[in-house]
Symmetry: none
Subunit: 201 residues, 4 copies
């Protein structure tokens, strides 16, 4: 990893734990192993580090959203089970590449901290944690409804229920304390639990 990337990595870890303002340039440089003046060769100022992180995150998210669109547009193979699609998408999108992804998870924490006094971050926070996930899940369940796998009239509430549960779990297990393997497992178990009850029953 080059110096610039190392700085961003260390900064994100620190920002997401203590907040942007509470982390000093000295803290970051000490951990990276460079002098403070060197950091200013790579970044215009402290804010520039944060901005670069946000830019990287939005690019990352755009990539994920594009990928999700792609998957969900694929014609379902015959005989596919209903939970198949949703699980697949949820797995790949929500969990592996997003909530469990170290970079994304830390960015969500950072946004959780900074959203209260930074409207730009707040908008991104609302989009990535509330708006986008709901949209994605609504799309999936609408298709399941159209395919006759679930009753069309139930779609609205099934989505709400599913979405609420996933959101609650995210805050409870993935955006609370360190992202330990225990918490990841607890999260995963509860998701599995929900799936089983909903679609296996």
């Amino acid at each position: 990893m080059n110096t610039r990337d190392k700085i961003m990595d260390v900064a994100l870890h620190m920002f997401s734990e203590r907040g942007y303002e509470a982390v000093s340039i000295r803290d970051i440089c000490g951990e990276v192993g460079i002098k403070e003046s060197t950091l200013y060769y790579h970044f215009k100022n402290k804010k520039d580090i944060l901005d670069s992180l946000i830019k990287k995150f939005t690019s990352h998210i755009e990539g994920l959203l594009a990928h999700v669109d792609e998957i969900s547009e694929m014609p379902g193979k015959k005989g596919r089970k209903n939970e198949d699609i949703s699980l697949q998408v949820t797995d790949s999108y929500m969990i592996d590449s997003y909530l469990f992804d170290p970079f994304c998870n830390l960015m969500l924490r950072l946004m959780m901290i900074e959203q209260f006094h930074n409207e730009e971050i707040r908008a991104l926070y609302e989009k990535t944690l509330f708006t986008d996930p709901y949209e994605i899940q609504l799309n999936i369940f609408k298709k399941l409804g159209a395919a006759g796998i679930i009753p069309e009239k139930d779609v609205e509430w099934i989505v709400k229920e599913y979405y609420s549960y996933m959101t609650m779990l995210t805050f409870k297990y993935l955006l609370n304390g360190d992202l330990t393997e225990e918490r990841k497992k607890a999260y995963y178990d509860e998701v599995h639990n929900l799936m089983t009850r909903r679609f296996m029953a």
Copy 2:
């Protein structure tokens, strides 16, 4: 309001917006209208302000929990409708005196920010936002189950569903940006929506 209370009030507003570390003694004193040296007559140091806020909050919460216990122990009057109890409790506990209460709401925001690097606060955060609410709701629905108002076997999932929904709404509307009247109304409407579907159908 006396000076000490004014300091705590101003400090809470600032801490909950920008985080404990990012707020300076100068900031607080400037807003309160006293000199920095004066603050040290009322508080031992900066940390002491935060500690006092947490102490005040835990006392407040203890009072609420005691009150909730009291209400739920009350023998339900004959002829009462099922949703009556839950709505009443939810209203008084979750909403008016807790989530909508300015002091509590700001404390939750502060805890949301500080939990990532302060284990004591994290524990309190988990307790007040996840553990306690679940316990309370579980108690209520268990009683409804025992009373035959809802099927006992459904209690577990009804609680989970209800609790998830309330938790999601809390993060989406009450712990996101400023606590405006619009957001309070949006929250209330969605709660009402859920109630209607669940218990009126």
Copy 3:
């Protein structure tokens, strides 16, 4: 002298020698014998020191101008010699209380340095070194003309000659290198020289 005045005094000496930007807060504090943080109790920032110096200077100058007005309005006593008035005024105003005054002399040097990139200072510089002195001397010589001591038609050029000479001497002896006793004497001798030739011949 209190701390604030000491800071201003030291700052002026340094600013007038090396220029505002080239003098550091550390330099000033080292000389005054205080910590840098203490300086910020007395001044908002570095610029505030400069502004305070300028304010003090303009007040000082206003006082001098008022005093000069007062003197020159006084009805000349009978039998007074022509050079009497001008010498007296020149002495008291231009020399003792202004050009030779340590504070004013250092301020002129500071203004000489800063005028090239600070329009506010440039205007003050032009006023105090060129405009005001000319006005004052014009007034004096007009009175001498009106009193028939010098030919009225010569007033314009006598003023110009006198004023040019004084201005040149100021830059040559008083705003060049250290203000040593030698340079003060050289200045004084040349002024005396001019007076003698002009009015004694």
Copy 4:
């Protein structure tokens, strides 16, 4: 213009406006359009830029002085008017090639700023603004005296008067704020004014 000359040009403009210390290598390189490290290919260090400027200036001045000597040694043609010589010399030396010359004018400003804390520069400043001009003019007027064009006994005071006037005008119009066309014209008009009165009357 090659890079080295560009650096010197930019540096002079900046030094003469804000002073040597207040201008950074970054400032200069930014304006020239090179990286800071590149500057060190052309100059040993920051001081070296200043030294090179001073060297260039002293060479320039030596050339001018030699030229002035040459002109004034030329036997005056019969029938020449007295003001002819002085005007010609003043024009070519003092004005076009010196005071109005962009390089020289900026150097004078730089010297005006730096003289207070740099004895080498102070000596050069005194020489070029006070000593040399006086010598030159004294030579000219001496010749006019010897030629019987002006009374020999008046030479001393005519020189003093003329020299004072020119010096005052230089500081008032040419070393005060930007060297605009307005100020150049004002300077020129006043010089013409003096000439007319002195030698045309």
